[in-house]
């Protein structure tokens, strides 16, 4: 089981802030493909990966990173703090 979090417009497009998933995906990219295949709103949110960022267990990571041992995956647009 993995916890998946969505922020900002990714959260709005998918329509929920977080969910628990049972997945066989071994990388972030596989997880994205699995989610996109599930429903249109996911496909829409993940349609342009260059405008997305991913964090694994609260550390910025990349889409080809492995998911082994990861408990929390978060998807969000580039940050705009400060």
């Amino acid at each position: 089981m993995i916890e998946v979090l969505y922020f900002a417009w990714v959260r709005e497009r998918i329509g929920l802030p977080r969910e628990r998933l049972d997945t066989q995906a071994t990388t972030v990219a596989e997880l994205v493909a699995e989610l996109s295949a599930r429903e249109e709103r996911y496909a829409l949110a993940f349609s342009d990966l260059s405008s997305l960022r991913v964090a694994l267990d609260q550390e910025l990571s990349s889409f080809d990173a492995p998911l082994a041992g990861v408990r929390e995956v978060a998807f969000f647009p580039p940050m705009t703090g400060g």
Partner: protein
């Protein structure tokens, strides 16, 4: 070193006074305050979303780097989340160092990293509705100077 991610408003002046008083050995204190901009007279509101947990971790990491690299006497980061009115302080950074060049460089470094590496997202609430603020290439590019 103090770090606060909070919903409540804060007074940059009161924070500056407290920070300066305890910065023993410092010859230079630099502060930066980011404000909700008043766009041409129409005060816009802002909604700031963040990633609780990761936000604090990311900022603490950035602060540790700044303190070590510029031998800071002290550093402070305050960042709000939730709804903010036009003109309100969004966040502030303060750095204290023996010399001014270090205090300035560390404050700019902290700002550049907070902009692009701390998980906050701003939504502007204007008369025409709500818009997520787009990240600027310039902000990402700013990181390359450090």
């Amino acid at each position: 070193m103090r770090l606060s991610v909070q919903a409540q408003a804060f007074d940059p002046g009161a924070e500056t006074t407290a920070f300066t008083k305890t910065a023993t050995g410092a010859g230079a204190v630099v502060t930066f305050t980011g404000l909700v901009r008043d766009n041409g007279g129409t005060l816009s509101a802002m909604e700031i979303e963040h990633y609780p947990g990761m936000t604090e971790r990311a900022i603490a990491t950035i602060m540790d780097q700044a303190v070590a690299r510029w031998s800071l006497v002290d550093a402070l980061v305050i960042h709000r989340h939730g709804r903010l009115a036009g003109g309100e302080p969004i966040m502030m950074v303060a750095t204290a160092a023996p010399h001014r060049a270090d205090a300035f460089a560390a404050a700019e470094f902290l700002m550049d990293y907070l902009k692009s590496r701390a998980p906050f997202w701003k939504k502007e609430l204007g008369p025409d509705g709500a818009t997520w603020v787009a990240a600027k290439d310039a902000d990402e590019d700013a990181l390359s100077r450090w």
